[in-house]
């Protein structure tokens, strides 16, 4: 296995990008990454996308996007594991470079979600649940996470206010991110008085529907050094699955796939949770961030809510989580999210995160989750 580094990142403003098509958004983003890396060729590419077929009626997008980026005939692969598609695309690109099969690989993620109306978008996202045991009975994603939230409240005494504080923190960070979809702050009262979606979750507990893409360029560390690039090395990678249906899990407050993927990533990196300086995690709903912190071993089981309340996860806290604004404020174009998390960590480790920079960040982690936790991809990065 060769050591692999991220040498270029590309991301444009996220939001309701009605004037741009899927291919335009992707190409603009990928060109930024290529320019940032300073490379004029790639050996292959991976694209994370959850549901371009339902959202824009287009499958076969790996080839389409390679073509429009001017890179055909390089091999191009689309990766799908629901909302963790971007993270998994990155892992596969990493494996290809580490194995020696390719030197320069582009990893992108994209979702164009606003060409359909809210009902269709809800349906498309719902296909990440177990359709036979969950979806067909009428539950939507906010409904599934509402069940998790209610169980967490009952079991550990997590409060409604603590969940609201996740959104408050992430919006506070996101307000400093010019590429975020909703770069503004909210208060606990705003969250608690926002429209009810699925009790106890309100609209400001939920990540939004977003158009957007993200792309990175990876290559062997040796090559990066020769190019004189700041080296952000991938030191840990983990990927795991769990039972998709909540009803099949022993404890719905526990994200087993996140625990397993985290465990593998810590092992490969030779790091422990207390050695992570900065994290980007999958806060598709406020309760998700609380459960993820626990599964990654950042806090004891059941203590996630309290950690947020105590300010541990704030930008200046002991465990800064979602400096980018997270999915909540930055936006959640599902296939792109995992790659955008990596971009934030690369920026943090390069010291390029401007006003949201976490002080002295050397080791960073990303956690990207599919569905209600049926898949998770975790990566650990270190600045050389």
């Amino acid at each position: 296995m060769r050591d692999v580094a991220v040498i270029g990142t590309g991301m444009t403003k996220w939001g309701e990008l009605w004037e741009k098509s899927l291919r335009t958004i992707f190409v603009e983003t990928a060109l930024l990454a290529l320019n940032d890396a300073g490379v004029d060729r790639i050996d292959s590419m991976y694209v994370g996308s959850m549901s371009s077929g339902i959202f824009v009626g287009q499958e076969h997008i790996a080839s389409l996007l390679a073509d429009y980026l001017g890179q055909a005939p390089v091999p191009s692969t689309r990766v799908e594991t629901a909302c963790a598609s971007g993270g998994l695309a990155f892992r596969l690109g990493f494996m290809e470079v580490a194995s020696g099969m390719s030197d320069v690989v582009l990893v992108g993620g994209i979702e164009k979600m606003t060409d359909v109306n809210g009902y269709e978008a809800t349906y498309a996202l719902g296909t990440a649940a177990d359709q036979e045991y969950e979806g067909y009975h009428g539950i939507t994603f906010p409904g599934l996470y509402a069940l998790i939230a209610r169980a967490h409240m009952e079991k550990y005494g997590t409060t409604r206010k603590q969940m609201a504080m996740v959104a408050v923190k992430n919006h506070k960070n996101g307000a400093k991110n010019p590429l975020a979809q909703f770069p503004f702050e909210v208060t606990v009262e705003d969250v608690l008085n926002s429209v009810m979606v699925a009790d106890p979750l309100r609209i400001l507990d939920c990540s939004p529907i977003t158009d957007g893409a993200a792309a990175v360029i990876i290559c062997p560390v040796e090559m990066a050094k020769k190019m004189g690039k700041p080296v952000v090395k991938i030191i840990g990678s983990g990927h795991a699955t769990d039972r998709i249906a909540l009803s099949s899990r022993k404890d719905i407050t526990w994200l087993e796939a996140t625990y397993q993927a985290g465990k593998r990533a810590y092992e490969t990196a030779g790091k422990s949770p207390d050695e992570i300086d900065v994290l980007e995690v999958h806060d598709c709903f406020t309760i998700a961030e609380i459960c993820v912190m626990e599964a990654l071993g950042m806090v004891e089981k059941g203590q996630g809510g309290k950690a947020v309340e105590d300010g541990l996860t704030a930008l200046e806290g002991k465990i800064p989580i979602n400096a980018s604004g997270g999915l909540k404020s930055k936006g959640h174009p599902v296939g792109a999210t995992g790659v955008a998390q990596i971009i934030e960590i690369v920026k943090q480790l390069r010291g390029e995160a401007d006003s949201r920079q976490v002080k002295d960040a050397r080791v960073g982690m990303t956690q990207n989750m599919g569905g209600s936790g049926g898949s998770t991809v975790v990566h650990i990065f270190e600045r050389e």
């Binding site: 309701e16 009605w18 004037e19 606003t114 109306n117 809210g118 429209v195 009810m196």
Partner: protein, 348 residues
């Protein structure tokens, strides 16, 4: 100089409150009231439609114009709820007013701007000298699907304007239109309720076209927001007119006199024209008024009017629009409303 010589409005007396609709659908009334700045809306009675409301509004316009209806050479009705798919509304209106048979009649349809389209054409024919008087009406019994966000705003009302060259109440200083193909809201044949693109109806649709038309006409006229006493924008909800006004550089006080939507609802083709009738009711000689309509699909018509001294003479020859809005109201429960709007029907 050509301009408006008579104007009139009509509002059905039935109202339904936002709370009453929200209660039925389990929706959050306070968030609609706050978010859309809507309190209640007008509802037509079972025997009222675009034609009957057009007749009422036109009769008031005739009272203010004080002309012989037989001299009206053009009758235009703009609406997206013409009672017939084939057969004009305009013929019934022209006949009811006594304007037939020597008259040109047409129905216009362009979502919420069909009313100002008719005004544009009637004014142009008068200006060209083709007709002595031209009548244009914007009227709608708007459709909003049960439970849809539109149901809180889709209302009923009409405004009528007679254009001529003598005894003008408001001189037409400039006109301007701004249009693109932007599918933000539509209803196909045989569909009862329209479909819309959610927030897509905002930035790339309503705001883009009103700002485009507003800037365009002011540039053409060499005028700035401070030159106007009043401004009227299309009113799909309470918030949009203030937001677009701010974008163009207008103050709240310039918008408020013609802002009826919080208690009227969106009367579609009648919306900005009724804002104009309410504004004329309170205007003084010499006031400059800007009106910018918006119709989905999408486009805006803009007009600059200058009020003359004749306003004091005609103002109270017919009911004022605010009086129609505030007096003689009757509140409906959702059941009656559903019957009146043909959402439920009695078995044969």
């Amino acid at each position: 100089m050509e301009g408006i010589i008579g104007y009139g409005a009509y509002i059905p007396r039935n109202r339904i409150k936002v709370e009453e609709i929200a209660k039925v659908w389990g929706a959050d009334a306070p968030s609609y009231k706050r978010g859309l700045m809507l309190e209640e809306k007008s509802v037509p009675s079972p025997d009222q439609d675009t034609i009957t409301m057009s007749v009422e509004a036109s009769k008031s316009a005739l009272k203010r114009a004080k002309i012989d209806p037989a001299e009206i050479g053009a009758v235009y009705v703009g609406s997206e709820s013409h009672p017939y798919a084939v057969k004009p509304s305009g013929t019934v209106l022209a006949e009811a007013l006594g304007a037939t048979p020597e008259v040109h009649t047409a129905d216009f349809e362009f979502a919420c701007k069909a009313g100002t389209e008719g005004m544009f054409v009637a004014l142009s024919l008068v200006k060209a000298g083709e007709v002595k008087y031209g009548l244009a009406v914007g009227a709608d019994t708007s459709q909003g699907a049960p439970g849809d966000a539109l149901e809180y705003s889709a209302a009923a009302g009409a405004a009528a304007f007679i254009f001529g060259k003598e005894n003008v109440v408001a001189k037409a200083i400039k006109t301007y239109s701004y249009m693109t193909d932007t599918p933000d809201f539509w209803r196909r044949e045989y569909q009862y309720y329209p479909q819309h693109g959610g927030r897509f109806t905002g930035e790339p649709a309503y705001f883009k076209h009103i700002v485009g038309a507003g800037r365009g006409i002011m540039e053409k006229a060499g005028m700035k927001p401070a030159d106007f006493k009043y401004v009227i924008f299309h009113q799909p909800n309470g918030k949009f007119p203030f937001r677009v006004g701010k974008m163009l550089g207008f103050e709240k006080a310039q918008i408020e006199p013609g802002w009826l939507v919080n208690r009227l609802g969106n009367t579609y083709s009648g919306s900005s024209p009724m804002g104009l009738t309410a504004t004329l009711d309170v205007s003084q000689p010499g006031d400059m008024i800007l009106i910018v309509s918006y119709g989905s699909g999408a486009g805006s018509d803009a007009f600059i009017f200058e009020v003359t001294e004749r306003i004091d003479e005609v103002r109270d020859l017919a009911p004022r629009t605010r009086d129609l809005l505030d007096k003689n109201k009757k509140y409906l429960e959702y059941g009656e409303y559903a019957k009146f709007r043909h959402k439920i029907r009695k078995a044969d």
